[in-house]
Amino acid sequence: MTRRAPLVLIAPSLAVFVTLFVAPFAYFFLMSFWKKQRFTIEREFNLDNYYAAVTDENLEIGINTLIVAVSVALTTTILGFIYAWIVRFKAGNWGKALLFVALVTLFGGYLMKIYAWKTILGNEGVLNTALQTLGLIDEPIAALLYSPGAVIVTLTHFLLPFAILPIYGSMRSISDIEMEAARDLGARPWQVLAGIIVPRCRAGIVTAFLFAFLIAAGDYITPQLVGGKLTMTGNMIALQFGQRFNWPLGAAMSFVVLTTALFVIAATHSLMALWRPR
């Protein structure tokens, strides 16, 4: 009984995991090799869906999605790092308040942030109005909204708290003594940053980057609402599962995105592993 006790204890969560994650995952993986007829799915093994998912327009959209997702992940990670650095090392007693402010934005909701940015970036939005009032522009800058840039800004805003937290968690483990020792030994600020802080925050940085990347790569709501004519892979997957009723192709596209994400995860880990403390 004692040996079996752990199994018994994890059985409920295991059952939930298998039922709600593993089983659907396996089912859709199988489905990705099937094909769609008008209102039915034929269980005929073929690789056509995977071919369609990585060629022609889907390839082009995939590359655009990758560019947007990497841009979001880089921007979010850099800003998250700076914010966490200020909270940990510069803000003193105000650090906790700053951290609280960052966390409070999580309560704002995803759609609310999107519509907030529409209000800021639109033709009659806060930014264009301010620029016109200051006499810096004559006509509103249309490219601020309904563009890839608007998608990057909106997603970055949404994901920033998720980047700050893991990086800040890593920074808390850095002792002030280590940094003082480095400075005493003549290290310049950038050497402290590159030689101690960044390498010691590798886990947090990788987590922040990947979290932002994975969410941005799979998102399809933000591009629809602020991306104008931008189409991302998520939009095409939604199209297959919705209007097209082509679940096999949608499943294949999803697994292509998943595989790409695994490559990015592996590459990020490998790159950051090279950045060791000096």
Binding site: F39, G122, Y146, K229
Partner: protein
Amino acid sequence: MQRVRGSGLIRVRSMMQLSRRQFGLGAAAMGGLAAAGLPRRARAATDVTFLGWQGYDEGLFVDDFLAENGISLNTTYIGNNDEIVTKLASGGLGSIDIVTPYMGYIPLLAESGLVQPIDESKVPNLASVMPIFRNDPNISVDGVLYGVPFTWGSAPMMYNPEATGGEPQSWMDLFKPEFEGKVAMMDDPLGNLMLAALIATDAESATDLTHEQLAAAVDFLIKVKSVSRVVAVSWGDMADSLARGDVVITFSGWETIKKFAADLGTRIEYTYPQEGTFAWLDNYCIATDAPNLEEDYLLCNKIISVESQVMIGTELLQGIVSQDAVAALDPEAASLYPYDNMDAFGQKATFFRFPPLDDSSGLATFDDWLEEYERFKTA
């Protein structure tokens, strides 16, 4: 109709303010029923199964009609018209009573034996339905009526008169240099392709397209996209873009956007350009082997009653079909649709049947449409 365009439902669902209103209305209706306690008549409630768009049952809750007739509505909401076909064809017959397809689907449903003919003598309110809707050829098969039309709309061009300097006359006005980057369109495959076919091809019917005509329609859509700023995902999104001044003119639209934009503080008008447009008409149909035929006819008759139609026209802001109800609409709701000149509307807007589902005719099938539409999505 597919997703957006034949479904006032998607339209309704896509408007946050409407959803709230609907919710409040539904809650009020349900509260009223609850407060009323048991039905007034001493009879057990009959469970009637309703399969349709969210909101399309609300006209039935406008008064005590359901309680008085001992009807308990079991509603299942759909996300697209295909769900009606698949649910009826996969075991739903015998348990489902009412379905609410767009008129383009009715011939398919009737020919497949999934819905039954309407006994017009049991729907006396049909007499007040405007001829343009009552006589729509899509809702009758071989002269037999299969659907009770109850709500409609079309795809006009929306424009900001201050920005356009007047009423545009043609869909080709979208390509005027002054509108470049100020055009909005909807992400609506069926609606967009029908409208593009109407404008850019010589097809006799916008849904009977050869593969070449379909390709030409998509080419036209890509051209419109090149001058567009927004491909909106909901009518609320389109109204929002117009109201904020991000766009000033649209390819496709919905009459009710005028009201949504007015609520946001911007005057937006609509027009039916000279090339014409398409219209949609949603119906109550009775499923084959429906278990509660008597109650089903009561519901079909109720949804086109004056009180239900007025509710649909004023609360859901959708087009209504009853002449008597139009006379009872308040001026604001009546101004949303061209009720005062339906003949002129009929000359500009056409109720097209659904594209072919199989390739036996040699024409492009609906699946071809969706596949070709991806070219527009990725352009």
